[in-house]
């Protein structure tokens, strides 16, 4: 079998766009998480809703910051 070149799973040129988009989505979810924490009284807060918002926000922020690192030349 002839050697096959290996490329990155995501094209390198997409990294800046992906970083901006995913960080934006992540920050929106973070904002909604903190608005929820601050406005809804302790008794009526739902733990599931908090955890779901937090998870979605951290997934987007996690991938977003990875792509930000890659786009800025820090290849992890």
């Amino acid at each position: 079998m002839a050697p096959k070149p290996i490329a990155s799973p995501v094209a390198v040129t997409w990294y800046p766009t992906l970083a901006v988009v995913m960080l934006a989505i992540g920050l929106i979810f973070t904002a909604s998480f903190f608005i929820y924490e601050a406005t809804i009284s302790r008794k009526s807060r739902s733990l599931a809703k908090e955890l779901i918002t937090g998870t979605v926000a951290s997934v987007f922020l996690g991938f977003g910051s990875l792509f930000l690192l890659l786009a800025s030349g820090v290849y992890v």
């Binding site: 070149p5 903190f34 008794k43 733990l47 951290s58 990875l66 030349g73 290849y75």
Partner: protein, 613 residues
Amino acid sequence: MREMGLRLDVFLLALTILWAPALSDLVLSKVDRRIDLTSQIARITSTLKVENAGSGLVSEVLLAFPESQAKHLAHLTATPNEGKGKVKGSGISYPVQLVHAKDMPPSLTFYSVSLPKELGEGDSFTFDVLAVFTHALKPFPEKITQADIQLLVFQDSAHYLSPYAVKVQTLSVKLPDARIESYTRIENTKNIGSEIKYGPYENLPPYSYSPIVVHFESNQPFAVAEELVREIEISHWGNIQVTEHYKLVHGGAQSKGEFSRLDYQARPHVRGASAIKRLVATLPPRAHSVYYRDEIGNVSTSNLWSDFKKTELEIEPRYPMFGGWRTAFTIGYGLPLHEFLFESDGKRFINISFGCPINEVVIDTLIVKVVLPEGSRDISVSAPFPLKQWQEKKFSHLDLFGRPVVALEKTNAVPEHNQKFQVYYKFNSLAMLWEPLMLIFGIFFLFVTGIVYMHVDMSISKSSASYLAKLQWDEVQAAIQQIRNIITRCLVIHDKVEASLRDLSRTGDIQACKAARKAADGLLKELSKEMKPLLAFLHSSQQAAHLLPKVEELVVKVKDLEERLMVKHSTIVDCYEKKYGGREIENRVASQVQKITALRQEVDDLLEFIDEI
């Protein structure tokens, strides 16, 4: 120097007599040697025509080097002779190995070349031998001032030193400059321009040796890297980062006296002819993010050109480097992953150049470190020449266990060692997800901390009045929020009822409208049931006293709104059943509609007020 050569000559003559008969099967029928001294590296290309004069089959040819040369030997290859055309890059070379034979003169080092086919009686074969020597050119005088030119001395033998008899031989020495201080004259010596020719000499016995010394001007920079550490870091996210740390010294004639920057600036080609002014590194094509810095910081005197075949980086040290002066700097660049990393048979391998990209640099110790991604297994190295090898660990961005590092060491490296080598390893693509997962868990941990902080009751005194008041207030807030939610749901149901009326006017389906009304009635009843305990709680709570009127007003208004809506609904449905005209219906419900709009406005105002609590 000459005396020493003479002594060696006498010694070798004695050897000739002793060992000559031992290896007489082969005869070198023609030897052409070309010594290239145009750079600091001495390259000797010899074209040998071997003839088997004995009866047995011969498959190995011995090459002899005197000890003084053998210790400087950096590279030795035997390649097929391609004639005058010299088409490079056929890539074939014959195996060469060091041999220690007991019946050989101990002052000589022997290498044996394995021929591709065995030579029978009378057969002959022609091949090229390239021997590269470092530090073989000695500056003489050893110390010069800034204004002096650099003179070098090179020693070799005019006769080809070989354990075999040589029938015809010639030697040419190519020098960088036409200016030659002196050279040994023996019979058949010619000097044409910057080239000195010796020979032809005919029918010389084995181990003939005739020392020659060439003393000539050379202002070639003697860039010697005492140590070069190249770090090649693979990231499967699309990059190969190469970082090269140089410890460079000018290995030519030592500088003595003062250095005058003024003289140097005024006439750099005279006052500082042998200084290293700039270095040119030839990087692979599509190299990006190139940088050049030393311990102090960025050195901005550099230029970069690139085309589709290569990227050229020209760098200038902070100061012109005279003999014996040192500098240390770092260059780094990124390379696209897919041009260097490949997969074959379930294994990944990097295929990248081993040596230093800077032209004509001698490297005393070259260490190449290949940093593989975290989680690589079964690492193996394949290189075209022997290397010292060991493994390390490196911690970099987002690492848990450290990245495996393969370190390869080569002493005495020359540009001829710029060959590709491979590092094979196994890697699971899913392991790439470690890095994002670590980031995700890190951020998620922050969110969980926030949730815990907001949920945990951290007051110290659980019985103080203010604490109890706060608890009560929390409960009141929760109750008000629930009431608000219920009212929102009520308003949604009202909207549905209105929507069913609009449907009725469009389709005339009275039954569907009635069904919607029934469903809405049921839901509203349930909601009012839910509301009751909350209102009762607010009544009992002292903290809610000042809010209670507003909340009650809201509840009453909503109830009123609901009733009026239902009246409107019944009226319209009734009219439809009696088949009244549109104008008639409008007249009948006009007053209700007005009131509903007003009430809706009031309810919205009250909701806004409650939201602000």
